[in-house]
Amino acid sequence: MLQKTLTKSNKTDLYLDLVELTSGLLLAGFLWTHMLFVATILISQETFNRLSEFLDTYYLSYIGIPFVLVIALFHFVIAGRRIPTRIQEQKIVWQHAKMLRHTDTWTWVFQAITGMAILVLASIHVWMVVTGWPIRAMNSAERMESFWWFYLILLIVGEYHAGFGVYRQFVKWGWFPRKPIGYVTKVITAIMLALGLAAMVVLVQIGGAI
């Protein structure tokens, strides 16, 4: 009780909740921008390369990538505190979700799973990109051709996690009614998935042509 009494009645829980919110929104914003940037390959290889060179010349990638990594790490630790860690709690959550057959409960279970998947997959992705620096259409096309299945999984889990994450934050803070927010996030997610898939197809074709 001593420890509990002394640590209670402060604002830690509020701050954690706010860090979860801001880091999540920043990451979702980053992911969506990222997908738009990648989708410039749909216009032309030159556009893709010019954008990438622009980001390099102004050191935006060199600031952006470490920044996003730090935010992602914070998000993993702080949003991850919601994930039940004890086996019994895990069992309860699964049993509960199966019993309730409630959409938002299931989407949350998958959000926890996709979160873990992103932690692993995105780390590999960043490693591959950074060791194959700089980002140019040819490098990306080669990577995409060899590892399209890897990027397909990452695209789906990433967009899923971001879309439902944004939805859930809006639900929790109640800035807008739930149903319209659900539609909006689903539409954004669908657009991002479509862009990502289209970019993948183009990159794989370029990679195949080399």
Partner: protein, 251 residues
């Protein structure tokens, strides 16, 4: 739908007789027009098995005592018509609450704890004068208070909540809705700091993960999402503006 034979699979367990492990018992029953789960359970108890335990009082969705898990979802037995369900009906007691036996749970202890923890009464320094005219309140505020007050404490929101199922201390939608009710009430003189003490934490507003099973399963259709969000926003706004008092340092 007429002349259906309903098959009830009902959870049986009596904590007083722990030597008999929990099991599912099957009962068959002819469906009658307008039959509710409440009617069906009474008929089973009268005609087939007097040992079956379940709760009910008002049979009109007012008392909140007949909440149970009906085909996986928390619902009121008296408000659930059998013709809205398939002919196989599975019944479980509400999770989270203490099991009395079979379908009967003790929601009273849980809600009493909630009332005490949130101090669910109007805190005022004024002494009541029975001869004075009642204080006036604008209609909008009165309606907002009434909306939150419609909670019948059936426990469906708690049973449906993943957080409440794994964290015993979590107040759940019923608890946070109750706090919201007093926050709106102009007669309550509690300061934001006092509210923050109760719900500005993981056990309260910030423990909600936003799965909204409470909102989707409330038999009274209370606007629980907005109530939870209201308290969360209020507490965040207050928490960002106030200075924590200096505590004792252990090392």
């Amino acid at each position: 739908m007429a002349d259906r034979e309903l098959t009830f699979e009902i959870f049986r367990y009596n904590p007083q007789k722990p030597e008999i492990k929990p099991y599912m018992q099957t009962y068959k029953l002819k469906e009658t027009p307008g039959m509710t789960i409440f009617v069906a359970l009474n008929q089973i108890r009268e005609e087939q098995d007097p040992s079956l335990m379940f709760d009910f009082v008002c049979r009109a969705a007012i008392c909140g005592s007949c909440a149970m898990i009906i085909n996986g979802r928390p619902k009121l037995a008296c408000k659930t018509l059998t013709n809205t369900l398939p002919s196989k009906i599975k019944l479980f007691p509400l999770p989270v609450f203490k099991l009395i036996g079979d379908l009967s749970v003790d929601t009273g202890t849980w809600f009493r704890h909630l009332s005490l923890k949130t101090e669910a009464w109007v805190h005022t320094s004024k002494t009541f004068d029975p001869k004075a005219q009642e204080e006036r309140m604008d209609n909008e505020t009165a309606l907002r208070i009434y909306e939150a007050e419609r909670c019948i404490e059936c426990g469906c929101c708690i049973a449906g909540c993943a957080t409440a199922n794994i964290r015993d201390e979590f107040l759940g939608a019923a608890g946070i809705n109750r706090v919201a009710r007093f926050m709106i009430d102009p007669r309550d003189e509690r300061t934001p700091a006092e509210y923050f003490e109760v719900v500005g934490c993981e056990e309260g507003a910030f423990g909600c993960m936003g799965l909204m099973a409470c909102d989707d399963n409330c038999p009274m259709e209370l606007p629980l999402q907005m109530q939870l969000a209201y308290v969360r926003r209020k507490m965040a706004a207050y928490g960002l503006g106030y200075k924590a008092t200096q505590g004792v340092k252990l090392a």
